[in-house]
Structures are given as C-alpha cells and as structure tokens.
C-alpha cells in the first residue's frame, strides 16, 4: 500500500496499480473453455443477446492482426454496448435477454476470429443533446500488450449517424475513422458485421485514451 509522502495534492491520492500484460495464458483465467478447462456455473462469454432480445440480431466478427500482418491468436476481447434502444444494461444477468457486457477471444485454431452474438446497439444520447452513432466499445488484452487497448466498432450502414458522432469526429484523420467501421455481410440470411483490428502499421486501428 502506498502512503502519501509529500504535501503535493497529486501525491495525496493513491497511485493506480500498474498494468501488466495479460500474457499468453489469459484464456485460463478469462475464457476457460478456450484453454481447455471445464466451465463453471456461469461464464462471461460472447452471447450478449438471446433470441428473445429486442432489436436486430447480428453477429460481429473479426481478426486481430499484428504489425507483421500475422493474426494474433491469443487475444481476449471485452465488449460493452448499449441495447437496441441505446440504453446500457449494467446489471449483468444471464437470465436477461440482453447484456451489455460480453467477452470473446481469438484462438490458435482456424481463422482465429473473435465473434459476438448480439443485437445492433441503438444510438446513445448525451446530455448536451448530441447523439453518438451506434457503437460497441472494445478492449483488447493479449501477450505483448502491456496495457489493454481501447477502441470502438461502428457500423457502415449508419453513415449519417457516423458522420455526426462526436467521438468519431474526435479522430482527426478521416481515413483513420474508417478503421473503426465494420462492414456488413449477409451469410445464410443472417446479418454479420466484420471488423479486423490492426494493432500496428498500415491501416492501424484507432485506439482511445479515456
């Protein structure tokens, strides 16, 4: 436990515990079945919406790609999004049709894609009357990532809302804004959005500090 050792205001506050990488075995702790461990009673995983949830049911998928263009196969992602009405549902309860929080992972097998089963979020209003375009907040944890990376996923078929979103507009480069916009696909009549997260280099995803 740190103790304040000077009269400076900032030092009267405790310092945040420092971050460390989640490491190569993050799945043991936070995605048990991916690591080959038995599941417990309830696990936090990627089904955020059950079939009875209100809204447009979608799957969101993507890869995580490193600076060499290779897939990152040991990442853990956390998603946080509003429901179809643009309202967050903080109380996590697996018996509810929709939860705002979900987890997913990339794995050593196959295409190494993460996926979320959810509903498309509604636009989220701010107190100043402005509106944020529908989005999913994502946090990325992995070996080699010393402090988790924070980004947002937007939807390409929300062009008008995206153009007016104060957070998307906080990204100065209009080219780089596109790194946050997921592409819509239809597969077997189901709607799917795809967004690859590029950690470094060409097409590098925008990451936020907040």
């Amino acid at each position: 436990m740190q103790q304040p050792n000077s009269v400076s205001c900032s030092e009267l506050m405790l310092r945040e515990t420092a971050s460390q990488t989640a490491g190569p075995y993050v799945h043991i702790g936070l995605a048990l079945h991916v690591a080959g461990l038995p599941k417990r009673d309830e696990e936090l995983w990627n089904q955020m919406a059950r079939p009875e949830a209100e809204g447009e049911h979608i799957e969101v998928i993507g890869k995580v790609i490193d600076g060499n263009g290779d897939p990152v196969r040991d990442a853990l992602l956390e998603a946080w999004q509003a429901d179809a009405h643009g309202e967050y549902q903080p109380e996590y309860d697996q018996h509810k049709p929709f939860n705002s929080f979900g987890r997913t992972a990339t794995t050593a097998e196959g295409d190494s894609e993460w996926s979320l089963i959810t509903v498309k979020p509604g636009a989220v209003g701010l107190s100043n009357g402005r509106v944020m375009a529908p989005h999913i907040n994502l946090a990325i944890f992995a070996r080699g990532i010393n402090i988790h990376l924070q980004t947002r996923l937007y939807f390409e078929d929300e062009a008008e809302a995206n153009a007016a979103c104060p957070v998307l507009n906080a990204v100065e480069s209009t080219t780089r804004r596109q790194t946050l916009v997921a592409k819509r696909e239809e597969v077997d009549g189901k709607v799917r959005y795809r967004l690859d997260i590029r950690l470094q280099g060409e097409g590098e995803t925008v990451f936020f500090d907040f």
Binding site: L14, P24, V167
Partner: protein, 247 residues
C-alpha cells in the same frame, strides 16, 4: 434520454497516467514490438456515457469454490489437494481516493507450484498437478475486500531471451465501477529475487509503480499450521463527482 444513461453524466475519472503504466512499445519485452500501436492514442477528454458506465456482476452466479483454488479443480477422480505452499491471497480494491470498491469482480489465474499452466500451449518440463486448475474469481464485499485460497505459483523460464525467467506471479483482473477503471495486472511476491530481472516487470519505468504490484507477507492473517497470507491491495482510478455539466 434514458435515466440509466443520464445518472452517469456528472461523473468523471482521474486521468490515467500513461507514463506510470508500461508503454505499449517496450522492446525489452520482445512480443510488444509488433503488438504496439505506432499512432498516438486519441484522447476522449470529455468521456461519454459509454466510458463512464460498466458492468455490475452482483448477479453472476458463482460456484462455492470459485475463490478456493485448493478445492475448485477437484473431482471424483482427483480428490486430493494440490502440491505447493498453501497461501491466502487477500486485499482490498480501493479507488485513488481510498474509497473501497464494493461488489466488483476480481479474477485471477496462475501456474502451479512447478511453474506450469494448465493450458494447451504450455509445454514446460514441470508436470501438471492433477489437483490444480489455476483459476479463481470472486466479488469484493461491501468494504472492497477480496480473498482467495491457493498455492504459491512457481517461477518458470520463457523464450524472451536465452535464459529469462518469470518471477512467481498471479495474474489479476479487476473490473471496477466502469470500463474506465478496467485493469489487468500481475501480483508478485515480496522478496523474490527474480522480480528485478524480469523483462515484463522492466516494462515499467518507475520502481514505485513496480511496488504497487508486490504482495506483502502478512503473518497476522496467516493461519498457524495451515497457510501463509499475502496482502495485495488493488487501486483503480478515482471517481470524481461534479455538480455542473460540461456544456
């Protein structure tokens, strides 16, 4: 707009000091080289509803031994106890103003006493322990306390350099009140000579920051003839309430 969203609006968090945390690019830890963004982070200086809220896990159903790693991997075929030094790992989750963070999710995972993880990809020479899984979770109580019972993990070699070893450590994940307070760290053990040699510890530039990750032996909380205790308090970003909206 909805009440749920509105109640969060007059709140903000103390800025995260990114010089205190390890930088994304820390070449001594080789894997960070190709996994670190080269562009600057975009600052959301006026955090929105999205960043000021987060999941509340009070209704997540936990098993009775989820925080007891001595018992939570045992079954009919492996009814024994794990090998290793029995320890109680405990502490408080506080915010930067010293306010306890109640009912927040604390998760942890670790290697066994020989330094081997129960993970498909870990092929270290040390054997798996049939009685040890290596994962735990719990919610803090109303005063911010959490507690696990486990064994002290072993150090192990890894391929960063020719002869690099991880100090004994337990990975710790804490949610805190919002996604702004989210934190994953590693807990080290007081007095371990491998701590200053570790390239992952060395990603930090400040010894005081390293000290925030070191658990202290606490003889008062140890159990005679049973377990030693290590205290590890976790500090998450401080929450500020403001009376005026920023418009």
């Amino acid at each position: 707009m909805q009440d749920n969203n509105k109640c969060a609006l007059n709140k903000r968090y103390v800025e995260r000091d990114r010089d205190w945390h390890p930088p994304a690019y820390a070449p001594g830890y080789k894997t960070s080289v190709a996994r670190s963004p080269s562009q600057a982070l975009v600052s959301l200086w006026n955090a929105t509803t999205s960043e000021l809220m987060g999941p509340d896990f009070r209704k997540l159903r936990m098993g009775s031994h989820d925080n007891d790693l001595l018992l939570n991997y045992r079954d009919a075929e492996n009814p024994g106890l794990p090998v290793g030094e029995r320890i109680i790992m405990f502490g408080r989750v506080l915010d930067q103003f010293g306010k306890p963070v109640p009912h927040t999710l604390v998760e942890m995972w670790q290697a066994n006493a020989g330094g081997r993880y129960r993970h498909k990809k870990d092929v270290y020479l040390a054997p798996l322990d049939p009685n040890f899984g290596g994962v735990g979770r719990c919610l803090t109580d109303e005063d911010g306390w959490y507690r696990f019972r486990t064994i002290k993990p072993g150090p192990y070699p890894w391929g960063n350099g020719i002869n690099t070893w991880r100090p004994a450590h337990i990975h710790v994940s804490v949610m805190g009140p919002s996604i702004s307070t989210r934190l994953i760290t590693q807990m080290y053990f007081e007095g371990d000579p491998l701590i200053p040699l570790c390239p992952i510890v060395q990603t930090l530039n400040d010894q005081e920051a390293v000290d925030t990750m070191i658990a202290r032996l606490d003889m008062a909380r140890s159990r005679p003839m049973d377990s030693l205790a290590y205290r590890f308090d976790i500090v998450v970003r401080g929450e500020l309430q403001t009376y005026f909206e920023n418009q």
